[in-house]
Symmetry: C2
Subunit: 345 residues, 2 copies
């Protein structure tokens, strides 16, 4: 046999929807457990996980607030990178030593090793930084598709987003810059805001502005030298999303991919009718359902090109050993976290 691996297992269905509740009940909802590895069948791949991040959507899934929920008990984590240890006799695309990431959400990446079906995995080049590989499969993919699929933008056009310091937000800044797009990045005010502004500008942000500043009349000055955006990317909802809408150019589109404020998107009727604004949503899992695995593989290679050229780096990460998952989960839910928690195996 292949011995046994450790997993962070999601046990109970009653995790509540507030972050406070889940903080309290984390010890009940999740536990570290040793599992026997399954035998490697002909179409299977034995993978040793290397690193797996904790994303907001992982938390939402544990809370039961997500469009796709696993049968419980389940292994947590939807993103991460592993190395192939061994392959079954009918596996053709992968060989030992290859790096792989999940083809779809729900794989369970918070484990030391596991046996997966070949088609549950997508290969990534193993010459990119480990943290880039571990954080490649969800956030940069989401950022790229939202920048490309909703509005036909050309070099010099601008994009506005909130939650600009999130994993997707940082990927948006970098991919937009690589595409010649200019970004207006809204962040929540916080202690040491200048440090955050400097860091996002280093990534390629043209403007970084707080939610409060964006609501002031002087925010119009932003558009003296930057064209009005035709694309807005919303991960917050509530007032923040209404403010993005107010700054969109006529005919523009706002794409919602998250709801951190836990409030609905609120759109003044006049902006829909007289400014012809369009409100859409994006969910990478739906995009994958609507596209072939080859198209997803192509997207991954496009992003790896950017990584190779130094145009796309991983967000600031804190590596935490898997057995300390409890600490990493708590850190990931602190307000104003500036680094992504990555579990290492």
């Amino acid at each position: 046999g292949w011995g046994c691996g450790s997993v962070v297992e999601h046990l109970l269905e009653d995790a509540q929807s507030s972050l406070a509740d889940i903080n309290v009940s984390l010890g009940i909802v999740l536990r570290l457990k040793n599992l026997e590895l399954a035998a490697v069948g002909g179409s299977d791949v034995h993978v040793r996980m290397l690193a797996a991040p904790i994303n907001p959507s992982d938390i939402n899934m544990i809370q039961g607030n997500y469009g796709l929920l696993p049968k419980l008990p389940a292994v947590g984590g939807n993103e991460g990178v592993g190395q192939v240890e061994a392959v079954g006799c009918r596996v053709t695309r992968l060989k030992p030593g290859d790096w792989v990431i999940p083809a779809n959400a729900g794989l369970g990446t918070w484990q030391t090793e596991a046996v997966f079906s070949e088609k549950a995995l997508i290969q990534v080049p193993n010459d990119i930084p480990l943290q880039s590989a571990a954080t490649l499969g969800v956030n940069p993919c989401t950022a790229y598709r939202m920048l490309v699929d909703f509005e036909k933008l050309k070099a010099g056009d601008s994009v506005i987003q909130n939650a600009s310091n999130s994993g997707v937000g940082q990927a948006v800044i970098q991919i937009a810059a690589a595409l010649g797009l200019r970004t207006i990045n809204v962040v929540r005010d916080r202690p040491d805001i200048q440090k955050l502004m400097d860091r996002l500008k280093d990534l390629g942000a043209e403007h970084v502005i707080t939610e409060e500043e964006l609501r002031k009349p002087e925010a119009k000055n932003l558009f003296k030298n930057t064209p009005q955006p035709r694309l807005a990317l919303n991960c917050v909802g509530g007032k923040s999303s209404t403010e993005l809408l107010r700054h969109l150019a006529p005919g523009g589109t706002m794409v919602t991919y998250g709801g951190m404020a836990k409030q609905p998107v609120t759109a003044p009727v006049s902006l829909l009718i007289f400014k012809d604004l369009k409100l859409r949503g994006f969910w990478l899992s739906q995009w994958k359902k609507d596209h072939s695995p080859d198209e997803f593989q192509g997207l991954i290679l496009t992003l790896c090109d950017l990584i190779h050229r130094g145009q796309l780096t991983a967000p600031a990460c804190s590596e935490v050993p898997l057995q300390d998952y409890h600490r990493a989960l708590e850190a990931s839910m602190e307000p104003f976290v500036s680094s992504k928690q990555i579990l290492t195996m």
Copy 2:
């Protein structure tokens, strides 16, 4: 000279945004006035107005709550039908006796006669009922475009709308039925609701349901025999629009064309992300800007075909002589008006 005509003139810019205010200040904001007719230039057309309705958007324009506002003083009314009395020497498309409607909003139809430029007018057949001609240029055009331009629907598909008893709402019911589409029509509860339900069903409505009934769990029964709608038409906003979104099929579109509740459209983040719902707006004036006069003329002829076939009738109308415009305006702003006020000249 051509003598003189009476107009309902909009004088002041300080009409406030609440209906109560405008009711009080109607006497100050609007007045009946005699105007000398301009000479008929080479490209001009002398028109004797026959009938012109009072639409909610006329009121919004007087209140200053509209995407297009005239320079004041201005003549009220954006829709209506007139008969050509005389034409200038360079006018080629029109001759005396022809019926005409405004090519665009802002013409000022609440007047007995006027001289317009030929290109401000669109011809309509003069063998359709007068009330149909007077109410053809805005509401049925809006209804048709919304049914056709946003989702590719085929016979048997369904559409959900609120404000189903409005001018647009009644046109939606009839045009949808003519296209083989099934409608779910939401109305506000009111005294004598059964009478309204019967009347809308007579027009071709498949279901008529109150806002309150739509919020109940039993509303799901609607979709036992009717497919979930991929198109929702929203003229209300607020809770009513959220409820339409909840009943849309995955991937469906809600088109907003009015905001009678004076509340923004509120969209739960999860419906945007996980159900891929799309929120759009429609404004006929923008459609006309984006399309040629010939395309508008084509739309009018399509609708006249439906009128000739008995598939599209005017909403229930109350005809009021122009000099009694004050009474007609007040009646048009009563809650639960079931007949459209039409000024006759």
